[in-house]
């Protein structure tokens, strides 16, 4: 049931695209201020689950509670206004518009020009590329650079919850590290992050909580480290070659 203490709660969520249910009853809580990473095989329903949060897919059954408020049935715009912003899996910038124009579009719900200016200033500090490439067409940026601009754009609404669908996809190792660092940074300044990643080992390392989705239901949930070190999950979904925790970097 609704519980205002719970930040985000999936409650018996069943959803699909008409050809059968992709999500077959998903239940778990996302705690405020953390990074929660969803992992699982291809086709397990990860992207669909994220779409139910942002209102792009309407669950057939169940409810999603965001700070005590039911999200099911709200329009994507209403969900944005509540402070939930999603960055989709495939590139979503307007390629023919400039970097600055793309970022400004992120604030389309904000009417106060002063607020927009303040946020823009803050965002240029966090994402220097927004200032450096402000006048360049977004389509001329590399894949990784476009990713960073997408993050910058989503912060223009000052969201409480940032939803990311495979933020590392297609990124070279150096940019991947930068993107993961940026996610940590967004989290450090108070945003709760819910993300889906196939780059599961690195993503779980930086996540407080991990959720394994399998065939449309939650197979396992725990801390990021618990999921990472679960031998069965490792064999099934993490490539089966998890290094023991003692050999990890920084330990």
């Amino acid at each position: 049931m609704s519980d205002t203490d719970v930040f985000l709660r999936f409650e018996g969520v069943v959803a699909g695209y008409g050809g059968g249910d992709v999500l077959k009853g998903v239940d778990f809580d996302v705690s405020q201020g953390g990074v929660t990473c969803i992992v699982g095989p291809n086709g397990s329903g990860k992207s669909t689950l994220l779409k139910t949060v942002s209102g792009l897919v309407k669950p057939r059954l169940g409810q999603i509670w965001f700070k005590g408020r039911g999200l099911v049935g709200l329009t994507p715009k209403e969900i944005l206004q509540l402070g939930v912003v999603q960055v989709p899996q495939q590139h979503s910038l307007f390629r023919e518009m400039t970097v600055m124009e793309n970022v400004e579009l992120g604030a389309f719900l904000v009417k106060d020009k002063k607020v927009i200016a303040q946020r823009m200033e803050h965002i240029r500090e966090v994402f220097p590329i927004v200032g450096e490439r402000a006048k360049d067409k977004a389509g001329s940026l590399s894949g990784g650079q476009q990713r960073l601009v997408e993050f910058a754009r989503c912060l223009m609404l000052d969201p409480e919850l940032v939803v990311l669908d495979e933020p590392s996809m297609g990124l070279d190792p150096k940019t991947l590290r930068l993107v993961f660092e940026t996610i940590r940074k967004m989290n450090a300044v108070g945003r709760t992050v819910l993300l889906v990643e196939q780059n599961a080992r690195q993503a779980l390392k930086m996540s407080h909580d991990g959720v394994v989705l399998e065939n449309g239901t939650v197979r396992l949930r725990g801390t990021g480290a618990e999921v990472l070190n679960n031998p069965e999950i490792g064999a099934l979904y993490l490539g089966g070659s998890i290094a023991p925790p003692s050999s990890g970097p920084g330990s």
Partner: protein, 255 residues
């Protein structure tokens, strides 16, 4: 070893951006060659030049001793060069199996392609075999549009394999694919390679590239920076700086 595919001094600009700059690359027959490099270094453009989707401003591409510079994509494909795309391209409204059957018709004339209504049992069986090979046979009757991103990538891989090309260009086969499945795909590529197929693979997953490829070429700003064994490449200071990024502390993650 003989060179199956040769790219010689290829250049190509888009507006003010020089995507390829006198880029040269040899792919040995029977090899698995890796192509790595930062985002925007020209890897996909090179694939597009080889497969006829983009015409180079200068330079030549030869396959099996035959010049294929400026040849059309269907001609290059018919000669035996198959490829997948970074972002998948499948027909969304027809089934997974039907997508596969379209790929088997490459030898037909356009007229026969228009008039044939049935695929033979052997073609269906063959298509199903490749779908099993990549692990999505159970999805054969679904419209391709209902597949997740990762599943569509696998369909595209099967789609290329069913046409039986001599050299297969894979553009980020592991991107968006579950880690365990990545290992499975790597094993399948090894098996196909042992059966005589040559591979050229663009991929950012270093474990995948380094575990699979005997030779790796690093691209940087439109040119081939260095080529060598995975160990040569991994320990090269230029590569570390341009591609893998600094920070020795986390190096094990990419090793």
């Amino acid at each position: 070893m003989t060179t199956l595919l040769r790219v010689d001094n290829v250049s190509r600009s888009f507006g003010g951006v020089q995507a390829l700059r006198e880029c040269s690359l040899d792919v040995e027959k029977g090899s698995i060659t890796g192509l790595i490099g930062p985002n925007g270094s020209g890897k996909t453009t090179l694939f597009n030049v080889i497969t006829g989707y983009v015409k180079p401003d200068a330079g030549t591409v030869t396959f099996n001793g035959k010049t294929i510079t400026n040849a059309r994509p269907d001609t290059v494909f018919a000669l035996g060069v198959g490829r997948t795309f970074q972002l998948t391209r499948t027909f969304a409204r027809i089934t997974v199996l039907e997508n596969m059957l379209v790929a088997t018709q490459r030898d037909d004339s356009w007229l026969r392609g228009l008039t044939r209504s049935m695929s033979s049992k052997a073609e269906v069986a063959n298509a199903m075999e490749w779908l099993s090979f990549v692990g999505i046979a159970q999805l054969a009757e679904l419209p391709a549009g209902a597949l997740s991103f990762g599943q569509r990538k696998l369909l595209e891989l099967a789609y290329v394999l069913v046409a039986d090309p001599d050299v297969i260009l894979l553009d980020e086969p592991a991107g968006g694919v579950n880690l365990t499945l990545i290992n499975t795909i790597a094993e399948k590529i090894k098996a196909l390679n042992e059966g005589g197929k040559t591979f050229l693979i663009v991929e950012h997953n270093m474990e995948f590239v380094m575990g699979l490829c005997a030779s790796v070429t690093v691209m940087h700003q439109g040119s081939a920076l260095i080529s060598g064994t995975p160990d040569d490449v991994r320990s090269n200071a230029l590569v570390l700086d341009a591609y893998l990024g600094g920070g020795d502390d986390e190096e094990s993650e990419f090793a």
